[in-house]
């Protein structure tokens, strides 16, 4: 954590309802530059919604969301585009484009947003990112030919194509076996160490939160009921918090 620096992401009393049900209720938290913040909670508690709010895919009913210095609530598409170019997003399903090869999936961000980048340089960046996630020889493959773990790694490689200062990660290890999950966690740790990328990682895997997160927030019924380091949360008075964080000990 870089104490005193402008937060990479800040939620200020954010509320969001769907069909009259409050999914997030006055949610507030900050993530410092270079910090890995894990949002831990049971399914359906608003974790993924929080990530989509953080990148402007959905708008809150109330509150403010700051990405570095920009409040993205009510921001127009041009403004959001600029903010999004600084943020990477790894989707739960990886969300690779079905009709493109892995190589072309990675080429999209650069060819679309860095149009002046020479083709040779694009190829170099793609190959480097594929190598970094251990898929250096799989660029020609279609997403349907990749296993779950490979898809997640490919999604991560695409999310890192523009060198984001913030990475939002949605359930990176869900549906993966323990060994593959551990490889994904290693990748996230390596990216953070190498690029000092701030991360918000949504997970229901306590083991992952313990391993990757500097701080962990426990989300329950749309509110953060506890936040802090894992060892602090283990001493929390709330039984649900203790039950969640002690799960993987």
């Amino acid at each position: 954590m870089n104490g005193g620096a402008l937060p990479a992401i800040a939620f200020r009393e954010v509320t969001r309802t769907f069909d009259g049900r409050a999914v997030l209720n006055n949610l507030s938290f900050e993530v410092a530059p270079g910090e890995a913040f894990c949002l831990l909670g049971r399914s359906g508690m608003g974790k993924s919604v929080t990530l989509k709010l953080a990148i402007g895919l959905i708008q809150p009913d109330a509150g403010a969301i700051y990405v570095e210095n920009d409040n993205i609530v009510g921001m127009d598409e041009d403004g959001l585009s600029k903010v999004r170019s600084r943020v990477g997003f790894l989707f739960q399903s990886a969300a690779l484009f079905d009709s493109f090869t892995l190589h072309d999936n990675l080429a999209v961000p650069l060819k679309r947003l860095r149009k002046k980048t020479p083709d040779e340089e694009i190829e170099t960046i793609i190959q480097k990112n594929l190598d970094d996630v251990g898929l250096g020889k799989d660029g020609h493959k279609m997403p349907s030919e990749l296993s779950g773990g490979m898809r997640k790694r490919a999604g991560l490689a695409r999310a890192l194509m523009l060198g984001p200062s913030i990475l939002l990660v949605d359930e990176p290890v869900s549906g993966l076996d323990r060994v593959t999950a551990s490889e994904i966690d290693d990748l996230l740790l390596r990216v953070r160490k190498r690029d000092n990328t701030a991360m918000v990682i949504v997970t229901h895997d306590t083991r992952e939160a313990r391993r990757v997160g500097d701080r962990v927030g426990i989300l329950n019924n749309g509110s953060l009921i506890a936040m802090g380091r894992m060892d602090e949360l283990e001493q929390n008075q709330n039984a649900l918090v203790r039950a969640l964080v002690s799960e993987a000990q």
Binding site: R84, V87, F89, Q92, A95, L96, F97, P109, R112, L113
Partner: protein, 253 residues
Amino acid sequence: MRRYLDFIGNIGLFAVHAMRRALVPPLEFQMILQQIELAGWKSLPLVLSSGFALGLVLALHTRTTLVQFGAQSEMPAVQSLAFFNEIGPLLAGLLMAGRVGAGIGAELANMRATEQIDAIEVLSIDSFKLLVIPRIIACSIALPILTVFMDVMGLAGGYLVERATTDLSLQLYLSRAFHDVSWAAFIPPTLKTAVFGAVIGLISSYLGYTTDEGAEGVGRAATNSVVISSLAIILIDVVLVKAIFFLFPETAI
């Protein structure tokens, strides 16, 4: 009832949004070409075979009736007018609604369900301009071209029947087929299919792009795309035929 009105209203808003976005450069030309290939080129075998088969069937039916009135020499003209005015445009439209409409609905719904559309937005790319506008434009360009092929194959089917029964020469068949056909009887009905194409692209894209039902929504979007697009082009056809008769009175037989 309110649900249907909501749907029509939402489609209208979607259409207005599409028109406004289509006017903002740049257009996704590469995507438009790719979609023209998918909607047009890959539909060609279906259109050619259907047009030829229907040309055969129509000729077999009408010939029997025309012979009863001693008007069998009018068979090529009946064939050409039937295909140019209505059968070609409408059948090509319905075939496209079935093949392409279902494809668009399912593809976009699948992209929505698997978060690919969100991924496009996250990459600062306007997903509406990338996915919806090219499909609408491609359908409205491809369908008139497919209609011409449908018309040609319908005439070819008719000629095969004539050739088999009367040994009519191709030159005479074509001469009779085009004798009573003015440009006004060919161009407006063919161009009206650009509207059919736009409607198919619009409805299918709307149903796929806006679905929020996950995997279940993929099948629903595909089915509804076919059903609603088919119904819409038949209803719009009524209006367009009336409009063509009003603008080109000589085409009203």
